[in-house]
Symmetry: C2
Subunit: 312 residues, 2 copies
């Protein structure tokens, strides 16, 4: 009898569910809207119902399902305890126990950025690297650390929260987390746009960015690729903070590879080369020679990683 | 038949060997001089001979020895490969294979700071914390990261090299490692003495330190405890860098506890309170509540950790 598992990535706007075979091939993928009414109180039940719906549609017995891997936006420790969920009011419960009793299936859970790291390590660009770090550059900066093929969840589930490493001692504006000078303030899509606005206030240098109303990270990278001096300076500044932060990560974990994901990573080579430019001078000799790669699974990294929580 | 193991801490000046029973009780401890002639080419053979000598003296059969754990001053990856040894010219060999063929015993090895971390986690102040970080403040700043009770050696054996995290972007003097602005330049005994000399050049403020010829870290802490304003500023500066670096470590690993060892840690509470003062504002809310403890095994942490490599 063939065996399967589900990967379920619960986000603030959508619940993405993948059905995987034993070897980790994705057979089906669905996205459902997240019901955010009453602080998202129905989110877990909805996810359980969607799983049941897909299982029945596919004609699978419950015995054929090895388990359900779940990713959540918030700290999840390695026993499944969720302290809080970003953008949803839920928190203070054990997701593995709750969803297991709802579905009658084995459930394993992890933080969304951490399961994405596991996904990239298993089926994406991190393949072959037992020790690797995923950095996602999106609206914020997320991260996941994989050590010996497993997620480093940490004692309260905040392992891999690379976006909130202090990188600028002089910052006057607060980060979303309440601290000052976090990597996320410079290397996220939002952060890069902010750096651009600040740079333009000081000096527009006949930049292509000067007459743009809606400056975003993509535009900054596009103009940098065209040789726009100011855009290049902004890219370099964002990557300086990234290089320094990843140098610190390397001093702690000594991974084989850094995989860069999220929307900003679409910039590609220019991003990698500028990160390496600032990474290399800021790590010990033994750590200089690391792989820097662009992630390959996109938004599916999470459901792959969720499946991996079961298929390991 | 009772079983035993050896913990062997190889340093630039001494080879310390402990004999342990199965439960990790240290039954005997010896220190031999490290023969540094010809780049320390005889160090491994000497260590093997000392082990054999102790084994025979104790009347133990080779079959009673579960194995030998070895700690070395240099990067050791988790397969026993040693790229270089500090203060000795050796490098580029597999310590586990070499010493195993010399002794006829099972050999496991690790970096000296990493095995010290494992020792503190097993029998010292890290007891009960599966995820913990040891920071040793001595001539340099060393570190070891323990995740789920095991050393994070990293891909080239440079895991836990916390002393070389960049903490000061404005440093003009090079660290021993060749980089600029490493934690070690401010938080080691040498680094604290340097901060003191720099502070005195700028402003002696009627400090007790002003008329001292040989300023060292102990003196700085002693005077800080007596309320000397300048000494307190120096302590605070060293601990600011420590707090910031450990905040970065926490964002990556989310350990339960930080254990502070090495000569400087004898300063005790004043050190802990100043580190926490700078750690807390620089980590995410979820990470603020960590234990900060002074190590308890002193120079024996290494041999305990070496024994633990065998007795796990």
């Amino acid at each position: 009898m063939d065996k399967y598992c589900f990967g379920v990535d619960i986000g603030g706007t959508g619940i993405k569910i993948g059905l995987f075979d034993r070897e980790g091939n994705m057979l089906d993928k669905r996205v459902f809207a997240t019901r955010r009414t009453e602080n998202g109180k129905d989110v877990l039940k909805d996810a359980a119902d969607f799983i049941e719906k897909i299982r029945k549609e596919k004609g699978l017995d419950r015995e054929q399902i090895l388990g359900v891997g779940v990713g959540l936006p918030g700290p999840v420790n390695d026993r499944g305890y969720v302290s809080e969920m970003a953008n949803l009011g839920l928190g203070g419960f054990n997701i593995e126990e709750e969803m297991s009793s709802m579905t009658g299936l084995k459930v394993k859970a992890g933080n969304d950025a951490n399961v994405a790291a596991l996904g990239e390590q298993w089926k994406g660009k991190g393949k072959g690297f037992d020790n690797m770090v995923l950095v996602t550059l999106g609206t914020g900066v997320g991260g996941g650390v994989i050590h010996k093929g497993r997620i480093v969840a940490g004692s309260v589930g905040a392992g891999g929260e690379i976006g909130h490493i202090l990188v600028n001692y002089d910052e006057k504006e607060a980060c979303g987390c309440g601290k000052y000078g976090c990597l996320e303030q410079y290397a996220s899509a939002t952060g890069i746009a902010r750096l651009a606005r600040q740079a333009l206030e000081k000096n527009s240098k006949d930049s292509l960015l000067a007459d743009k109303e809606d400056i975003n990270a993509k535009l900054v990278f596009d103009y940098a690729k065209q040789g726009d001096e100011l855009a290049l300076e902004i890219v370099d500044e964002a990557c300086r903070y990234l290089g320094i932060a990843l140098a610190g990560v390397a001093q702690v974990m000594d991974p084989q590879a850094f995989v860069i994901g999220g929307g900003v990573s679409k910039a590609g080579d220019i991003l990698i080369s500028h990160i390496k430019k600032h990474y290399i001078p800021n790590v010990m000799n033994a750590l200089k020679d690391k792989e820097f790669l662009i992630a390959s699974l996109g938004n599916d990294a999470g459901i792959y990683g969720c499946a991996r929580l079961i298929l390991n």
